[in-house]
Symmetry: C2
């Protein structure tokens, strides 16, 4: 009943919805991922981004391992009601698993993809706590 | 040969890639759509956004009917090489087929989707030229 807003989302056949995460303040696009119904519900409830990991086949609380959680400021739905846009504060300033600020660090220049963002933190230092 | 950069993109089984269109300057996310190989090639070549319309099953030169073309300033690829981010200048200032600036005009507030963007131009005036 109180979850009626979830009914408005047009889920894919697999029960997912594409999600764009954008940084509050800079408006930079941090990453793109997917949510299922439970992930979106938890995202709204906890105000932290929870995605559905298609590769791992499970809920993925962003930052669960790295500590780089995303505090959710806003949740938006598009005109066709099949895409979600969230405004987040990126804790640690690193959204990408490569240790970069965001995932879109390859830019097309004269028919080549050029990396134009530095690695802020070595992924080994992010994911292997000792 | 010169199209080698297209090989780096990991296309879906349907030969598509999700695309986020972001406005140059404001960094606002305008819309989300899909491209196939030909659409991405044309986007890069013409510097105007060309998508693949899944509903119509054909190439869709954004603005072909409305005049609201998107001039492409930048094309980016994400870490997994399966999502494209383009920076565009939105001609006419209207990206959404509802006549709004962008497609993400529904905001979640206390379990309700609230429309918080005005219609700039009536869709009937955009799409029915007399």
């Amino acid at each position: 009943m109180s979850m009626q807003w979830l009914e408005h989302v047009k889920w894919t056949e697999d029960g997912l919805v594409p999600v764009i995460a954008q940084e509050v303040g800079t408006n930079k696009v941090l990453m793109f991922a997917w949510m299922n119904r439970e992930a979106l519900r938890l995202t709204a409830e906890t105000q932290q981004a929870v995605y559905w990991s298609r590769s791992r086949g499970r809920l993925w609380h962003k930052g669960e391992e790295s500590g780089h959680v995303q505090k959710v400021h806003e949740i938006r739905l598009d005109c066709d009601e099949d895409v979600i846009l969230i405004q987040v504060e990126q804790v640690g300033g690193i959204a990408c698993h490569t240790g970069r600020h965001n995932c879109f660090f390859q830019k097309l220049e004269q028919e080549h993809w050029i990396v134009d963002q530095a690695v802020i933190k070595n992924p080994e230092d992010i994911y292997h706590h000792e």
